[in-house]
């Protein structure tokens, strides 16, 4: 748990005093809970509340193969899940498509075309008919079974589809309202138009420049609203954590990386491979470039990597903090602890609303900054003049 919090502190996200305090408290609580868990494990197989909450949070942070809304345990100890199954698509010597209801939330094996698949910690493993998982270590964390390529429509994919459709509907209706009302937005467009203009004027034009910003506008707008909306969905009781998923943030960062380097100008590449230019004779540059050029090349990859880690860590940390605070209600079960946890989680929710917007802004802002580097063109006349002086 504190790994996420550590990432949070390392990232550029401004933290309020309260958030820091809560994080510190949670660090101790988390350690305490972990320590307790180990003891419990060896003594009794029955899980206590803290372990249950911890597992619940870990489960929530991961993608899932069915869209579960909530679950309950009846008097007989049977767990009932409420939600709907999603299609599982596997590539295992040919495409295999089946409903995730076959797994029964990981309780049963799914048999497709004579192959057996087991759902373990939200991941699908290929097993034998009895569903044995072989582990490489004693902790029982990482099964060595084959993992078929999993292209399932998971909960995250569903949320991305929903968000995508929402965005297309929202903004194409805004675009149509311009045509109808003579360039004046109507309804919800009045709320979104200033944001679009802000991204254009204060993010794109400010970082990329008047000449070239237009090329990047669709990407910046899409990435901003996509991240923002998914962040906001993450705060709803639907319990999705799309932007807190490393694969999603990686995909976004990869796109930023590709766009940056494929639109890079001659000056951009010159800055990487010949940053000093004519400022120094070649034998002088040779020595410095042995260090400098690798750093610059490394920088190419570090920039988008920082993007993906920042977004992932911030969103994950937010979810962990919020869910831990809500979990505290069930641990304390007292008149003091309950309302206190509730108040804290409410306050954090408010902060998370801000963070949802802030992280979308930071991602867009930094992407625009990198695009700005890539499309930068030095004014050679200026340089010549400087040399003259």
């Amino acid at each position: 748990m504190h790994r996420f919090l550590g990432n949070d502190i390392l990232s550029n996200r401004p933290m309020t005093y309260t958030t820091k305090l809560i994080c510190i408290v949670l660090l101790f609580v988390g350690n305490f809970a972990l320590a307790k868990n180990d003891a419990q494990h060896s003594e009794a197989p029955k899980k206590d509340k803290k372990t249950e909450i911890k597992e619940y949070i870990e489960h929530h942070l991961q993608d899932s193969h069915d869209f579960s809304l909530f679950s309950s345990t009846d008097e007989n100890g049977e767990v009932h899940h409420y939600g709907f199954p999603l299609p599982v698509i596997l590539w295992d010597n040919g495409i295999k498509v089946f409903s995730s209801s076959k797994f029964h939330h990981g309780e049963e094996l799914a048999e497709v075309d004579g192959n057996y698949y087991k759902l373990h910690h939200s991941k699908i493993y290929k097993t034998d008919a009895s569903g044995t998982l072989n582990y490489d270590d004693s902790h029982g964390e990482h099964p060595t079974n084959v993992r078929p390529l999993d292209f399932s429509i998971t909960k995250s994919v569903v949320m991305m589809l929903v968000t995508g459709l929402l965005l297309v509907w929202l903004f194409s209706s805004l675009a149509r309202s311009y045509a109808k009302n003579g360039s004046v937005p109507k309804g919800i467009g009045r709320f979104f138009e200033p944001i679009v203009l802000y991204i254009r004027d204060d993010i794109a034009i400010a970082n990329i420049g008047e000449k070239k910003y237009k090329k990047y506008m669709p990407f910046l707008l899409t990435v901003f609203f996509f991240i923002w909306f998914l962040n906001m969905f993450g705060l709803t009781p639907l319990g999705v954590n799309v932007t807190g998923n490393i694969a999603v943030t990686t995909a976004l960062a990869v796109l930023v990386f590709l766009l940056t380097n494929f639109t890079g100008t001659k000056d951009y590449w010159k800055h990487i491979f010949d940053p000093l230019g004519d400022g120094m004779p070649w034998y002088g540059k040779m020595i410095i470039y042995i260090i400098l050029v690798p750093i610059e090349i490394l920088g190419l990859f570090i920039k988008p990597f920082a993007l993906l880690i920042r977004l992932y860590a911030n969103m994950t940390a937010g979810h962990v903090v919020l869910m831990s605070l809500i979990g505290l209600i069930f641990i304390f079960k007292s008149w003091v602890g309950g309302p206190l946890s509730f108040g804290l989680s409410f306050a954090i929710s408010m902060i998370e609303l801000l963070v949802a917007l802030l992280q979308a802004y930071i991602f867009t802002m930094l992407a625009a900054l990198y695009f700005g580097f890539a499309s930068e063109e030095h004014d050679h006349d200026d340089e010549a003049e400087l040399a003259h002086l």
Binding site: K123, V168, F171, A175, V196, F226, N245, A251, L252
Partner: protein, 166 residues
């Protein structure tokens, strides 16, 4: 880091790339381009409207300046006319004064001449009257002197005396 790698789902990654590119394409075509174009058009419209308003303002200023100029000119003309009229008036007064003076001088001279001639006439008359008077006086005196015989004899004598002397 190990956890991150373990959590990484390649399938989700591919889905995200595909869906995002699709979303980017759709939004670019149906949303961002029309929105940005509309906004740009509107901004251009506003700019143009502002520029034309500025132009109109300038035109107004020009018109005001023109009318002001006209007014000024009219005022100057009036001033000039007034000045001219005043000058004419003054000139006329001066002229008439001059004329009057000349006329007066002329009249005075005439009067003087008349007076002189009257005076001369009077003196001449006076002279003639004095001469008449003196002749009559002399007549009377002579008459008186030569009234007696002796007196006449005396005179003849005297005159003879004078001739003798010569």
């Amino acid at each position: 880091m190990e956890k991150l790698v373990n959590d990484f789902s390649f399938g989700l990654f591919i889905w995200q790339i595909v869906l995002f590119l699709l979303l980017l394409f759709l939004l670019r075509k149906f949303a961002w381009k029309p929105i940005l174009n509309a906004v740009e058009e509107r901004e251009d419209g506003i700019k143009k409207a502002l520029a034309s308003a500025e132009d109109a303002k300038k035109e107004m200023q020009n018109v005001t300046a023109d009318s002001e100029k006209l007014l000024k000119e009219a005022r100057a003309e009036r001033e000039a006319m007034m000045k001219e009229a005043r000058e004419i008036k003054e000139k006329m007064i001066a002229d008439s004064k001059e004329q009057a003076k000349v006329e007066g001088d002329k009249m005075i001279k005439q009067a003087q001449a008349t007076i002189e001639s009257e005076k001369k006439a009077a003196v001449a008359e006076l002279k003639s009257q004095v001469a008449e008077l003196s002749v009559s006086i002399a007549e009377k005196v002579i008459k008186e002197e030569l009234s007696g015989k002796d007196k006449q004899l005396k005179l003849v004598e005297k005159m003879l005396d004078d001739i003798k002397l010569n």
